[in-house]
């Protein structure tokens, strides 16, 4: 045996941070990199799921206090993650010191996870959310979970939440149906093509998607498998009719709740949901660079979004216990 060891076997970074050993060939055991935060939380990062199909999982854990419950965060996808990622990081860092364990993950075929985007289907994204939810519940030892989904992630969060009756759900600027999302995606592709001096019809893009397996939308693949498997999905159907607490956050510059969101909230109220809707006045460019860059950490709009969401979740997860 040589004296050489791999990083997998090494330990002991600085200031309370560690990398623990993990064997190369195994399934992804929960042997995370950890960071202790002075604010009262611990962060653990690992890959979960089977080897070759692992998912990047970033867990924010409360430290030295009871865990009120867990929150599974289902991110947007494609270019929509670009302007959004840090908000979810900050949410985890805001909630963990207040007693909520927050799990963020990258879908397979995206980010730091395994697999290719072309292979992603609606069901694989739903499975990813269910896997992550089960992992979180086991890790923190409670089935008191809430879900949060942004844009397309709202559909995924709803699909996963539907397996847990009564679980609270937060929806940030949710996509209400897959058809609308894809229409927007194809429109962005057309805008890019026009900018480059070419014009592509929707039919031609769909045909390319069918024959090539995917098309490019602003540097991200839109796969035929996902397109096909997502046909006809709506947020309302994905969540189901079992009443639960729901917070719908509209993020935009409009002065009123948009009609489609208002209708959805009304339908849920009729079905017995405890629904709140909130408007955050913010100009969010979901798929393109914004003109003026400001760090997410210092944007008042982001602060308001995080605080509103945190307060709502703490009320729901605390169940009458102190959430201070």
């Amino acid at each position: 045996m040589s004296s050489r060891i791999t990083l997998r076997e090494s330990v002991g970074l600085m200031d309370g941070t560690t990398v623990r050993d993990r064997s190369a060939a195994s399934t992804h055991a929960a042997m995370p990199a950890t960071r202790r935060d002075d604010g009262g939380s611990v962060e653990e990062v690992s890959f979960i799921g089977p080897s070759g199909a692992g998912m990047f999982a970033f867990l924010h854990l409360p430290e030295d206090r009871p865990i009120l419950g867990g929150l599974l965060v289902c991110s947007p996808m494609d270019a929509e993650t670009l302007r959004h990622y840090r908000k979810e990081v900050l949410l985890g860092r805001a909630l963990a010191p207040r007693g909520v364990a927050v799990l963020r993950f990258h879908y397979r075929g995206a980010g730091n996870s395994d697999c290719e985007a072309e292979d992603v289907t609606y069901d694989s994204m739903r499975e990813d959310a269910l896997t992550a939810a089960a992992w979180l519940a086991e890790r923190i030892g409670t089935s008191d979970l809430a879900f949060l989904g942004t844009r397309w992630g709202a559909l995924t969060a709803a699909a996963a939440a539907s397996e847990r009756p009564g679980a609270p759900i937060v929806l940030w600027e949710p996509t209400l149906d897959t058809a609308t999302y894809f229409r927007e995606s194809l429109r962005w592709r057309r805008i890019r093509d026009l900018h480059r001096g070419t014009e592509t019809s929707t039919e031609a893009m769909l045909e390319t998607m069918r024959t090539a397996g995917q098309i490019d939308v602003l540097g991200h693949p839109l796969g035929h498998a996902l397109y096909q498997s997502s046909a006809g999905r709506t947020l309302r159907d994905e969540l189901g009719d079992d009443p639960r607490p729901a917070l719908l956050v509209q993020i935009g510059l409009g002065g009123e709740l948009r009609t489609d969101y208002a209708k959805l909230c009304a339908a849920w109220r009729d079905a017995g949901f405890d629904v709140e809707s909130v408007r955050i006045a913010d100009e969010v460019a979901w798929r393109v660079q914004v003109d003026t860059w400001r760090p997410e950490d210092l944007r008042p709009e982001t602060g308001e979004l995080l605080e509103t969401t945190s307060e709502w979740l703490l009320r729901r997860l605390a169940g009458g216990r102190s959430a201070a």
Partner: protein, 312 residues
């Protein structure tokens, strides 16, 4: 182990490491082949996470790991999964401390031989760092800006130096200009342009013809290029033919930059791919950039046999 092995998260280790007062997050990919004893560190642009804009960092790291490299992708302090707050990002204030933390982390584990791959802000950071560290052996720079500006001011500052004085005057005489002054956002943009134009005019007056008209090129950039050339570090400058920064780079070659590139000889390679590569706005381009970088690193390393693994 065959070099054809598909590298997955099974060979990856999430890592927190300290950089000054902040903790930066990254992902180590361990080599699938015989370890070369070289770390390839991806110095990021301003992507939201260590994965990159369209996973380009993931693909590059896993691909090079197949060839025996330890690879590492990370988030700057204040970004992605790292801690801290960055109030302003500017090419005048590069995040060399973060790169130094990663290089030091590898050094503590017995790997002192480093290749830096940077994109945009990351390419300038990598270039600036390379002049200060004896551990950097190669540099691949994707779309490095040759002038300095703060994040969010690229377009305005670029326009300000390219526009002719006559055209500028004509624009500010239009009614639309005065209407736009009522809009706070447009007013801010005009202010950025005006300041950039003023700096350009002052620079031109001060430099005369001594700099070949390249007074607008970042002195820090030129100094760094001079530094890596003097240290005989192989450098790849990679642009898209339609990148704004490629136009700037070509214009800068009318001045002092050209002499530096010539002095670098065959160690300096300048390539421009069709289309745009800045911001990685399509997958075809992303893959082409990765192909070229991987091939360039392997070609430069061809004479170096696989050496050793990581020390305990």
């Amino acid at each position: 182990m065959s070099v054809e092995e598909v590298v997955t998260t099974g060979r990856e280790v999430p890592v927190f490491l300290q950089a000054g007062d902040e903790t930066i997050f990254g992902v180590l990919t361990e080599p699938a082949g015989s370890p070369r004893g070289t770390a390839v560190i991806v110095v990021p642009a301003t992507a939201p996470s260590s994965a990159g804009f369209g996973r380009e960092n993931v693909y590059l790291c896993r691909r090079l790991a197949r060839h025996g490299y330890h690879t590492f992708r990370f988030d700057y302090h204040g970004g992605g999964d790292s801690t801290g707050v960055v109030e302003r990002m500017s090419l005048g204030d590069l995040f060399k401390g973060d790169v130094d933390a990663v290089v030091g982390w590898f050094g503590e584990r017995g790997i002192d031989d480093v290749v830096l791959v940077g994109s945009c802000f990351g390419s300038r950071t990598a270039l600036g760092y390379a002049t200060e560290s004896p551990r950097v052996r190669m540099l691949a720079l994707v779309a490095p800006p040759v002038r300095d500006f703060a994040m969010g001011q690229r377009t305005e500052t670029g326009k300000a130096i390219r526009i002719g004085t006559r055209e500028a005057l004509r624009k500010v005489m239009r009614p639309a200009f005065f209407r736009n002054l009522l809009d706070a956002r447009k007013r801010r943009r005009y202010a950025v342009m005006a300041r950039a134009r003023l700096r350009w005019v002052i620079g031109q007056a001060r430099s005369g013809s001594a700099t070949g008209g390249d007074h607008w090129v970042s002195p820090r950039f030129l100094e760094s290029v001079r530094g890596v050339v003097q240290r005989r570090i192989p450098v790849l400058f990679l642009y898209g033919e339609e990148d704004e920064f490629w136009g700037d780079f070509e214009r800068a070659r009318a001045g002092r930059l050209e002499n530096l590139l010539v002095a670098g000889g065959t160690r300096v390679e300048v390539r421009a791919l069709p289309g745009t590569i800045h911001d990685y706005r399509d997958q075809t381009t992303q893959r082409a950039v990765q192909d070229l970088i991987a091939a360039w690193i392997l070609r430069n390393d061809a004479s170096r046999a696989p050496q050793r693994g990581i020390a305990g």
